[in-house]
Symmetry: C2
Subunit: 214 residues, 2 copies
DNA sequence: TAGATTGTTAATCGATTAACAATC
DNA sequence: TAGATTGTTAATCGATTAACAATC
């Protein structure tokens, strides 16, 4: 993924800063649920295990959202962050691969709750094509490129076996997809304008066992 | 998670280096499947999108594994990395929360393929307790601490709803768990000796939409 | 040997943090 | 006003990379 893009009079926002914005958003939602109206960089920091300086610095890349002596209005900061992350619209998402994992993802309510509507499903297993999940019909891989293009879908979740992951990613790119959430344990090769985020539970477990004595 | 632990005559290995070892392992497995016997930092780098210098530097924290002019013997480097990550034994894993996601995880073959055997399942839904998945019987949350202690399980996968995630994590810690793979969208608070890795697909999607024009 | 590639050092680059003036 | 907390600057810290001697 590109390291950063231009923002706030041509200055650049590091990719790692962007990564933290969703976590800020999550904490703010939590605070709001708890009935709070304002918060501080210190409170957010404690909750997230970051430093307050980091939070203020991160936010400063995008503007000024707080008031000295008071802190941040939670509802306001949430709205601002949502706008920055382009979350003030609903995104259509294609889910490719309706195996066990894909099935669970298709049922996972939090996607649509957070504005990511899975509006297209694809699989190449004839037994699955035509099946309906949550009101969406599973289509064949052959229809994929055309169907995604036609719907103007920009985000895809890739939940296919490793051996077809790269070729499927290639088709997604051809279809105009710009963001791929990749569940296959492989480093995908895509053009630089396409973003990829990998989810590999095994890699996480293997990292933690380093710290566990047997 | 702690930033690093001591290694190789008291020197310290940055946490971020440890994070990359599983990816090296994954690439090496791939290369081996392709029939290759040796590789180079350059080849690994290209596959992973890293620099070759980074790969050599990372490995140098743990020893010398290559030969000048030749590169690395794949089978040997794999074994070494597995040993470093404590992957030369099989780990027992407890899976807590057998909803849609938990169910999919319980069926996900790659865990046991990679040496993580899910040997205990827990849920607090009476309808699920007693159910058998892949030969493992779902137990109640009430039995959890005792059961994990007795089995000596050190790794848990947390797939419960957000609202009970922290209290469940507390129980896991009490039961002696040292590594938690957390699927609940919340920052868990645990003692420093317990490692947590978070998997939050929404956060990944929200990061990518930053780079997508609507 | 000549060519290739390691392991390591030093230089560079970037991210985090400490500190504080500004100000609510 | 006094206390609190922001936004920002400069210092620190750490990670990445370039370069190369060593050597297979």
């Amino acid at each position: 993924m590109a390291d950063s893009i231009s923002m706030k009079n041509g200055k650049i926002v590091p990719d790692i800063v962007v990564s933290r914005l969703p976590l800020y958003l999550r904490s703010l939602a939590r605070l709001q649920e708890e009935g709070k109206e304002v918060t501080s960089s210190q409170e957010l920091a404690t909750r997230l295990g970051f430093s307050s300086a980091q939070i203020r610095k991160d936010l400063s890349h995008f503007g000024e959202f707080g008031k000295q002596g008071t802190g941040y209005n939670i509802a306001f900061l949430r709205e601002q962050l949502k706008a920055i992350l382009n979350l003030d619209i609903e995104w259509q998402v294609a889910l490719v691969g309706v195996g066990d994992l894909g099935h669970a993802l298709a049922h996972y309510g939090r996607f649509s709750q957070k504005g990511f509507r899975i509006t297209a499903l694809f699989d190449n297993d004839p037994a699955k094509i035509g099946m309906e999940i949550n009101g969406v019909v599973v289509q064949s891989h052959d229809e994929m490129v055309e169907s995604i293009k036609k719907a103007g879908i920009r985000i895809a979740i890739l939940a296919v076996p490793v051996k077809v992951a790269q070729e499927t990613a290639d088709k997604l790119v051809k279809a105009g997809v710009r963001a791929i959430l990749n569940y296959a344990p492989i480093t995908l090769s895509v053009p630089p304008e396409v973003k990829v985020q990998n989810i590999d539970p095994i890699a996480h477990l293997q990292k933690m066992t380093y710290y566990c004595q047997r």
